[in-house]
């Protein structure tokens, strides 16, 4: 067939237009601008990308204006801060968030969303930020639900949201069209889709995570392995992630129920779960993953591993009675060390449910089938890491920086170390968690009173998965011995 010169000209024009449209699309939606350099690895931990902006990144400006349009879905005055986020003075975004331009400015989470905490000596004290500490004030579930409620609201539309954005940014004509007709509708759909994926946690009368907790293995199960919803619920405390070098070694396990045998696996799986994974339904994203993000991601995990392995546990910030703590040392050695001292017989190792006697729900959320499926999926991403496992047990962690890891037990069901040394019947049945004023007398955070109940989340130990039974070691000690042991635990 012969193509006329006129036709040729047409084809050339069309081809040029397609190329231009492609370039435009690439520039506006996929152009990657590296993040500005961070002053140190701790800053990078708190604000640096783990690669989640690609598939899970929200358009930054939409994210910024949502609490201003939908305050009724925020639990209190203060925008995102009302979800108990750690927000350092002078910082544009809270710790645990990372901002990066990929076509347009996006925001996503990183490890610090669950692993950076604060304490204050008194209500008028400033919040002291501790990187790698449990984010015991943060209501992750509340934030997820907030986004879903916004997306479902009719005011989540191009006109309303773009108008609010224009009060912050001088959007160009083209950008305001892109926000109005592309980014806002797209984000709305993505959030509504995500809401469906979270249907399992929104079942009626289902236990809430509350501040400082999530349901880690169900999250893994339903997101990484897309297994069908089952009847398990395993609310668990965010752990500290400092000083990980003492968690490494043959036969040592991580996660509350020894679900993973290696630090690197935990980091990789958690980061993939937070959104670093490629979107399996988008061939284009898989391609970018293969050629661009895969190597970057593994290097990022290596850097994180190095940082967290060496990052020290925080020192106890209040006075310690040296004599008393010296008296407590032998009690610790006798009562606690075999399970909690680094190198102890059971430290970082499985302890049977029958032995420990704590609430079993968390253990029941994970299965060998889920572990196998998760391992297979991760391999599909071309990542080689020690496999997840299933052991019917709870893990016995070392106690470095234990003062900053309250409330205690895997489900955060015991407010303070003093309560933990009491028999179950004497532990508080109801308390408030998520308030960051410290209680040096009982070693833990303040969990009662007007402010704790205003800010905090009510932990009811009678709710499924919240039980405070078990781990009654030391409850028979004399009161003076308990005081000495508590004093010693402050030194860890």
């Amino acid at each position: 067939m012969k193509i006329s010169p006129r036709c040729w000209r047409c084809l050339i024009v069309i081809a040029v237009l397609i190329v231009m449209a492609g370039l435009f699309g690439w520039y506006k939606f996929f152009r990657v601008e590296p993040q500005p350099a961070f002053a140190n690895e701790e800053e990078r931990f708190k604000y640096g990308s783990i690669g989640a902006e690609n598939t899970r990144g929200l358009p930054y400006w939409i994210w910024v204006v949502l609490p201003r349009i939908f305050p009724e879905y925020v639990p209190g005055p203060g925008g995102y801060k009302a979800f108990g986020l750690v927000w350092e003075e002078g910082k544009e975004i809270p710790a645990g968030f990372s901002k990066q331009t990929i076509g347009f400015p996006r925001i996503a989470n990183n490890c610090a969303i669950c692993h950076t905490g604060t304490w204050r000596a008194s209500p008028s004290d400033k919040a002291h930020v501790v990187a790698a500490a449990p984010s015991h004030t943060t209501d992750v579930q509340g934030m997820i639900r907030f986004l879903a409620k916004c997306a479902a609201d009719p005011r989540f539309n191009g006109e309303t949201i773009t108008a609010q954005i224009k009060r912050e940014v001088d959007l160009s004509f083209i950008d305001s069209l892109l926000y109005r007709y592309v980014l806002v509708p797209f984000t709305k759909n993505a959030l509504l889709d995500q809401q469906k994926q979270f249907a399992w946690m929104n079942r009626p009368h289902w236990p809430d995570w509350g501040r400082g907790r999530d349901d880690p293995m169900n999250l893994t199960k339903y997101f990484m392995t897309s297994m069908p919803t089952d009847n398990s619920t395993g609310q668990a405390d965010f752990p500290s992630v400092w000083n990980l070098k003492i968690r490494k070694g043959p036969g040592l396990y991580l996660n509350w129920s020894c679900d993973t045998p290696a630090v690197r696996s935990v980091l990789i799986d958690s980061a993939l779960g937070l959104g670093a994974a490629p979107d399996p339904n988008t061939p284009f994203d898989r391609l970018i993953w293969k050629f661009q993000r895969h190597d970057w991601f593994l290097k990022r995990m290596e850097d994180l591993d190095n940082f967290l392995s060496e990052h020290p546990a925080p020192k106890y910030p209040f006075p310690i009675d040296a004599n008393l703590s010296a008296q407590g040392q032998p009690i610790y050695a006798q009562q606690c060390a075999s399970c909690h001292e680094v190198g102890g017989k059971y430290t970082n190792k499985p302890v049977s449910l029958a032995e420990i006697g704590t609430d079993r729900e968390r253990v029941d959320t994970w299965t060998q089938g889920a572990a196998d499926e998760a391992n297979r999926r991760v391999k599909e991403f071309n990542i080689d890491r020690p496999n997840m496992v299933k052991i019917e047990c709870y893990q016995s962690p070392p106690l470095d920086g234990i003062w900053m890891r309250a409330p205690y037990l895997h489900n955060g069901s015991v407010p303070t170390l003093r309560d933990l040394l009491e028999p179950v019947a004497s532990r508080p049945a109801v308390f408030y968690r998520g308030y960051d004023v410290y209680d040096p007398v009982n070693v833990g955070f303040v969990t009662s009173g007007a402010e704790a109940s205003r800010i905090g989340w009510k932990h009811d130990t009678t709710i499924r998965g919240n039980g405070n039974q078990g781990h009654t070691y030391g409850s028979n000690l004399q009161s003076q011995e308990k005081n000495a042991l508590l004093e010693y635990l402050k030194t860890l």
């Binding site: 209190g76 927000w87 912050e168 001088d170």
Partner: protein, 501 residues
């Protein structure tokens, strides 16, 4: 397709000549419309001080009230003013006969033509220009940079809210009123106002009225005061219904704004929550309607340059030099380390630093109204403009020690304006007046402050300040270290010395 061979060329010719006429006309119309509706022209002032008093921050672009509407409101709604016959002056706004243009607009109200419509709104001077009279019959001195001691901003807000929610606020009545005033708006502007802009303005005011309802649960500010940090919570749309009660009352005095250059790096605002003059200015500019995309940067920069070096006027009444000289060592001993060596030399160990609330002991409401939650959210303001993003705010636990330049013009004293004059401030709380009147601008040279015992003059009522109300407490800044236990002659000498600042 068949065409009529005879009429074809004739019709083409006709069309063509039509286009010769219509084409350029269309271009002209489009060009005219473009120029008109993209117009953005502030009223310009040759003199920097005039620019500060009357110049635009850009706030009119978003928040501007059409000039003729501004003029018509007091005519149509005199019942919402303290004195309907006196218009905006009855709210304490200052009319300056020396204003180069627009003499019918008060100090602190700027004008800008946006999209072809003259619009007005407040600028920095609304809160930072005041007046002093030597005697009830004197002509007021208008002093740029001093606190706006007579202006009742809250009453102004309520006036606008009342207008907007009145059944009289209709395009027809306002249009009639504007016509009666002799509007110079052309046909297009009049039509735009009548059919579009007035209902938009009404919506906007009702929106603001609803957001600012929090004002109703705190005592009235009265003239010369403002709640600084609850309005930003409202603009960020915090849930005010869930605000803890301790945050409710943020009422505090308007400050002077001279010598900002020397204040750079000091902790600014009453509670010392920010140490960047420029950022503090951008924060204050929200009050003039200027938001990140609309703030007029060159214009604000010019205002900043002016307040960088502006000086307070010298105390205009007699000073007993010998007595003042005896006051100087007293000042050095008791005041200088927190308030600077003099009215010009701001050096001192604690100047610009925060004194903890337990030590200063003054009313804590203003302190408590600023919170970590607000601070966190402020960090995202101006985030689209990296060099301007707010990053200097912090939560403190006390009040900042300020230099005392022009202190004679900064009465009443303390952050909440709860102590009428310097003489009262040197007395313990029990001897300070529990109730007094604010907003009166006749000077009290004996006590150093304004006269505060005048409840009414020529029909104008002044604001009754009750120190027993929430946020109005006049306690604190007292005890030996604060000079309230000095012997009477030393107090006298100290007061005389402070007049030299």
């Amino acid at each position: 397709m068949s065409t009529d061979p005879a009429s074809g060329p004739a019709r083409t010719r006709c069309c063509r000549s039509c286009w010769y006429v219509a084409g350029p006309l269309l271009v002209l119309v489009v060009l005219w419309a473009y120029i008109r509706f993209t117009r953005d022209r502030p009223v310009a002032f040759a003199n920097d001080e005039d620019h500060f008093k009357y110049g635009s921050t850009g706030g009119e672009r978003d928040a501007g009230i059409p000039y003729w509407v501004w003029r018509a409101l007091p005519e149509l709604f005199p019942e919402f003013l303290p004195d309907g016959k006196k218009g905006y002056a009855s709210l304490g706004f200052i009319f300056d006969p020396s204003r180069p243009t627009d003499k019918d607009l008060p100090v602190g109200v700027s004008k800008r033509n946006v999209q072809g419509v003259d619009r007005v709104f407040l600028n920095c001077a609304a809160c930072h220009v005041g007046t002093v009279r030597d005697a009830p019959t004197s002509i007021p001195r208008i002093i740029t940079g001093m606190p706006a001691n007579t202006v009742d901003l809250q009453a102004f807000e309520r006036f606008l809210f009342n207008c907007a929610t009145s059944e009289k606020f209709t395009p027809e009545r306002l249009s009639y009123e504007m016509k009666a005033l002799g509007t110079t708006d052309d046909f297009i502007n009049r039509a735009l106002l009548r059919y579009v802009a007035l209902s938009l303005a009404q919506q906007r005011l009702i929106f603001l009225r609803d957001r600012f309802k929090f004002m109703d649960r705190e005592p009235d500010t009265g003239p010369g005061r403002v709640d600084t940090f609850n309005p930003p919570k409202v603009l960020l749309n915090f849930r005010m219904d869930l605000l803890p009660e301790r945050e409710w009352v943020g009422n505090c005095d308007l400050p002077s704004i001279w010598n900002q250059g020397k204040r750079q790096g000091m902790w600014l605002h009453w509670d010392g929550n920010n140490n960047s003059v420029e950022e503090r200015n951008r924060s204050a500019a929200y009050g003039t309607g200027a938001i990140p995309p609309t703030i007029d940067r060159p214009s604000v920069k010019r205002m900043e340059r002016w307040i960088h070096d502006a000086k307070p006027p010298a105390y205009p009444y007699a000073i007993d030099k010998a007595l003042a000289a005896r006051g100087e060592p007293v000042y050095r001993e008791y005041c200088a380390s927190c308030h600077g060596r003099s009215g010009e030399d701001f050096s001192g160990e604690y100047v610009g630093q925060v004194t903890l609330i337990d030590k200063i002991g003054t009313d804590r409401h203003r302190l408590d109204s600023y919170t970590e939650e607000l601070c966190a959210n402020q960090n995202q303001l101006y985030a689209a403009y990296p060099d301007e993003r707010f990053s200097h705010f912090r939560k403190t636990n006390g009040y900042a020690n300020q230099p005392l330049d022009g202190i004679w013009l900064r009465a009443p004293y303390l952050h909440n304006g709860s102590v009428p004059n310097l003489r009262d401030l040197l007395e313990p709380t029990s001897k300070r007046p529990a109730v007094f009147y604010r907003g009166y601008d006749v000077y009290d040279a004996r006590n150093v402050g304004f006269l505060t015992d005048v409840a009414e003059e020529n029909g104008k009522k002044y604001f009754r300040f009750d120190t027993s109300l929430s946020g109005n407490g006049n306690q604190g800044h007292e005890g030996k270290a604060f000079g309230t236990e000095l012997p009477a002659d030393e107090k006298e000498a100290l007061i005389e010395y402070l007049k030299t600042f």
